[in-house]
Amino acid sequence: MKIWKKGLIIALSLIMVIGLAGCGKSTTGEKDKDGSKSGENKSYDKVVYAYATFNNIPTSEVLDTVEEEINKITREKINVEVELLPIAIFDYSSSVSLALQGGEQIDLFQSLGDFNNSVSSDMAYDITDMIDVYAKETKEILGEDILAACVKDGRLYGIPTYKPYALTPMVVYKQEIADELGIDMSQVKSVFDLTDVLRKVKEAYPDMTPLVPVQTGTSGVNMTIPEVDYLTDDYFSPKGVLMGDSMTVVDYYGTEEFAEICRLVRTWYNEGLILKDAATTTSTSTELMSSDNSFCYIASYSYPPEDTAASISAQVGNIPLGAVQIGEAYLDTTSINALTWMVSSTSKVPEAALKFLNLTFTDPDVINLIIYGIEGRDYVMDEEGYVSYPEGQDASSVPYTAQLSCGTLGNFFLMHPMKGTKKESLIWEEEQNKLAKKSPAMGFTFDSSEVKTEYTAVSNVIQQYLPGLLCGSVDPEVVIPEFRSKLSDAGLDAIIAAKQKQLDEWLKNK
């Protein structure tokens, strides 16, 4: 028994050590809660604006100075004081949902690709009756068509970020290699034209894997299938989709288009034209492009090809890049409501929140303060109105910047352009929004709550098979049939039926 006790003592002290370590971790997050209670002025409504940032999180003193500048405008214009709450992009969704559950104040937040779920779990405030009063100007800017993407059961639950929506599939490649081998990239009009180019590169550089994946689990080819409406699903986990002008929901994985691109990537894989570990690598496309071992990748961007190439080039150590369009942009509901600003259902000042949201779409001073911070300290502007960082500083060293969030906040077209981009591009982008072909089901959102059980199972099956197929590491002839039968076991048919039913309903009421 004695030994037994000794062992127990040791075990207990181990628990204690582990316990202490655990405690130390969990307290850090609460600090900034007390630090940010400034501006106790009672005559103004306080609005908390939670936004995702891809840049560094500024210190609370710096944040206070930016808030103060914004408040100078908002106090006068709408009688509101604002508290900025930047949250790192990778834990934005979970932080916001935890904060709302825990009763913390957040009045405005963005649905990161999750419009439907935010609405069905009651996170979003119904702003149908308020928008005409408190955000009239925003409504005029966006227009009914765009706002329709945020409507569910006839009620409006949010305002989508106004930005270039249309994603255009492109190939981004290294200019020097193309020139050296005499490849005319402008001849590449579709993803199928790429094979010969990749072969040529491979022939000249046998040790190179010419094509790298755009992100973990996809070579980017899935985005080149034309005219797909994902009906509220994630692009990388489609369940039932619409194709072209047909209003029949189809199984994405059963289409000939899907089989065709899988076969194409399989050829690439077998010939060593694509990274072998494309399905699992966690390296980003920019990292992979920075190495000498790559030539191009396939991705979809909402900027003109030349601008895209220029801005990516800056991120990969200024290797000269080119970009060529290999498909047409297509707009569906998700491409618009993926980034929707919502007033939280727990907000005590929804009117004030909406008024402030309106300013982020209409007041250039407000939105530029949120994006770039304070002029002179955080950025400088030249005579032509282009923004750059103060001398000797960059995005990571200035006290405040949220520049990389520019496509996610308020009205993108009101933001000062960065040096290196062209003002004409903005016109191209706004045109694309209007010209891009729109899905016939534009405005339809699917409510998955009746098929939740099937969704979990199907998501798992998709994650098991899709990356391998999209990166060529498995043989589509064998795997697609197996994949489809597993999907069917997991309940894909029920999801497709539910989608069709809701879509028919929506068409009837349209």
Partner: protein, 308 residues
Amino acid sequence: MKKVVSKKNRGLTKSGPLLLIALPGIVYLIINNYIPMFGVFLAFKDYSYVKGIFGSDWNGFDNFKYLFRQDALLIVRNTILYNLAFIVIGTVCAILVAILMCELGERFRVKIFQSSLLLPNLLSWVVIGFIGYAFLNADTGFINKTIIRLFGGNEVAWYTTPKPWPFILLLVYLWKNVGYSSIIYMASIAGIDKSIFEAAKIDGAKKIEQIRYITIPMLKPTVVILTLMAVGRIFYSDFGLFYQVPMNSGALYDVTQTIDTYVYHGLMELKDIGMAAAAALYQSVVGFVLVVTANAVVRKIDRENALF
């Protein structure tokens, strides 16, 4: 009467300091494990942010359905089999290491071996995942480019070949955890009365016999208590091991998917709090039932060693 009181007091003075040592751990358990238990309500509710935990509508066992689908059975099988393998092989290896370590004798050497065995335990799974990646990467990995090339075999696309993965995972698990769990056994061995060994030596027992007839029987209580505790967690899995080490490769899901990763993959898109809570409740209820059963069995066989 007086005598009884003083005996009681003596008990308290004896265990008082121990209780004090345990206090931070107990407080931690209350804050982190008991208070959040109110969350079990969520498992039976259709959660709404407006209505809150207690105000949301009940939806019976709907949240549990996805865990009992046909295709979820494989995941349950994986979880249990891996954990059984970890318990059995892990315990055997840990005891082996502990005995070897105690036989080293000289303190300096023990310290060096002990530290190097403990080191992997301090690494995070993400780091270990990348160490594994450095070995198994299809394009530049150490095994494909060096070892296989040396012996002239065919290169293997490790992250899309499921067969070897049960062994890889077991190996990685042992590498990370054996050093740590052997400490407890070492402590138990150190607590064995030296005179027993001396007596055995005089009687002519060899090293192997000493281990066979003294060390291992003396370790039995520790083995039983640790195994019982591990049985309680048989429905859980080390998320890092099953998610980071296989690099979340879809092609391996048949052999790497466990309840925790299945729930994670399934709910990443839905973010349904109720369903997540249902999975946690399911795991802990099964764990609880198993511990109670296992303990009852132990008590039947050997009353002394039972947990309660």
